[in-house]
Amino acid sequence: MNKMNRLSKVYTALIMIFLFAPILILIVFSFNEAKSLSVFSGFSMKWYRELLRDSETLTSVRNTLVLAVSASAVSTIMGTAAAVGINKLRNKYMRAALDTATNIPMINPDIITGISMMLMFVFVGRLFGAATSLNFATMLIAHITFCLPYVILQVLPKLQQMDKSLPEAAMDLGCTPMRAFLKVEVPEIMPGIVTGLIMAFTMSLDDFVISYFTSGNGFQTLPIRIYNMTKKTVTPKMYALATIIFFVILALLLISNLSGNEDTRALKEKKRAQKKARKAKVS
């Protein structure tokens, strides 16, 4: 059962070709000397050089990183605190209300989340008599809002799995609640916080639709820059950009996968040891 039969292999290969052919084509044509999209006329790095000279794109990369770092930092801190609070919440109705609110940005289509926030910002802006009410701040608020549920949903299960007597023991031994939280609970739920942070960061980097509706004219993120680039006639500069993004993602995934494999290996060894112990007991 462990070995894949031939049919499965062929099927897997076809799906992978479907998934990767478009990306490979972009990569190949990013090195094309001519502008053509169907004929490869010779190897050249000129589109990469042009990309590096495109100050608008470089600014948008910086903007994207600034936004993603701030949004993921704020949403991780607020989301972790929220998860701690939700976990301790006794009131059933409060809890149901908060769970629903947390689920809304995940269920709602991006376009509705984007439109709804834009409408509110425009309305409030008009109240204060501002001519343009969309700027970096509105975008940051929007990004924090759609990142928060991912952080909460990563941290909450870790809190529920944690042994409740651990912080109690710390407090019995003279820790203040704050100290018990920082010294006992935080290390226990750290894996959830880190995963939440990474998810928030990547969601923020990748978002186009919500940013599109909540950004002002002055602040352009990379996805919005790509959108504007693909609106007009496109130069293979776009392909060079896509190629760079692809390799950055590939590197990040390989790194995270390698460290992930170590975790599963440790887990497997632990399981094997447990099995052995159980067998020894039986005999």
Binding site: L26, I111, M171, T230
Partner: protein, 289 residues
């Protein structure tokens, strides 16, 4: 002492929850109220149902000269393309999820990484890649010409939009189905086999019913973004295939915020109703099991 500390800790837990509660009300719930508020008011914020009525009754003349309901037609088209894409994603993704879940753990993690890589690339870039492939002078036709086959015209057709949607969203179908299948108890399958079930029977009576929660979440994860997309249809449909997302975006660009809100409001209500129905259906199936 003990009472004091538990009082302190309950106060503390309320305090840590306060920022998020305020944030959720201000930036999750209030904006949705604003959608309804804008949808039911005119430009000077007086109550009106005109925006909603316009969605259901506005007519225009189509290319064949017939009078049609503009927005109802757009909505029907979005629904049709989204359902077709979701079905294709399910048909292609289900066997893939099954194959991955049956592979060795090393192969599993490699295949999952491979499926996640396109998912992590921005969907604008992925869609754009298909535009360069499907163009009349694009790679596909260049390839076909080399084989001596007549060029095909795909870009700007509904098929191109469906290809784009399937490509962009198929990982969202594979992942949830896989994660349910990976947790499935192999003993159930063995038991069914021992009791004389053939392969088709095992698939139909054991594997499929057990994987249903994954299928339901896969369907929602593909259907919702594909019904509300506006970039894919603009690029691959050449702007000819006006979908509900394009309609919202178009009204936003034209600064008709009240009508944009009305379309968003109708879409939101319909999606919520669909989801509630599907959730109920999925729950029932699971409890029957």
């Amino acid at each position: 002492m003990k009472k004091n500390s538990s009082l302190k800790s309950s106060l503390l837990s309320k305090m840590v929850l306060a920022p998020y509660s305020v944030w959720a009300v201000l930036f999750i719930l209030v904006p949705l109220v604003f959608v309804a508020y804008y949808a039911f008011t005119d430009n000077s914020f007086h109550f009106t149902t005109e925006n909603i009525t316009r969605f259901f009754t506005a007519t225009s003349v189509n290319s064949e000269g017939a009078e049609v309901h503009t927005y109802l037609l757009i909505f029907a088209r979005s629904l049709k393309l989204a359902v077709i894409s979701t079905v294709i994603c399910l048909l292609l993704g289900y066997p893939m999820a099954y194959i991955i879940s049956k592979a060795s753990s090393r192969t599993q993690s490699i295949l999952l990484t491979l499926i996640m890589i396109p998912m992590w690339m921005n969907f604008l870039i992925r869609t754009y890649a298909w535009m360069t492939i499907l163009q009349d002078t694009g790679i596909l036709n260049g390839f076909l010409a080399r084989l001596g086959i007549d060029p095909v015209h795909i870009i700007g057709t509904e098929s191109a939009v469906v290809i784009g949607m399937v490509y962009d969203y198929i990982p969202y179908m594979i992942m949830p189905i896989y994660s349910i299948m990976a947790k499935m108890d192999n003993k159930l399958i063995e038991a069914a086999r021992d009791l004389g079930c053939n392969n088709v029977g095992v698939l139909r009576r054991v594997i499929f019913p057990l994987s249903l929660p994954g299928v339901v979440s896969g369907i929602t994860m593909v259907l919702i973004p594909s019904i509300s997309t506006f970039y894919i249809s603009q690029k691959l449909g050449n702007g000819k295939f006006y979908l509900i997302g394009d309609a919202i975006e178009g009204q936003y660009v034209a600064n008709n915020l009240h009508f944009a809100a009305a379309i968003a409001f109708v879409l939101m209500v319909i999606l919520l109703a669909c989801m509630a129905l599907m959730q109920r259906y999925a729950d029932k199936k699971v409890t029957v099991m």
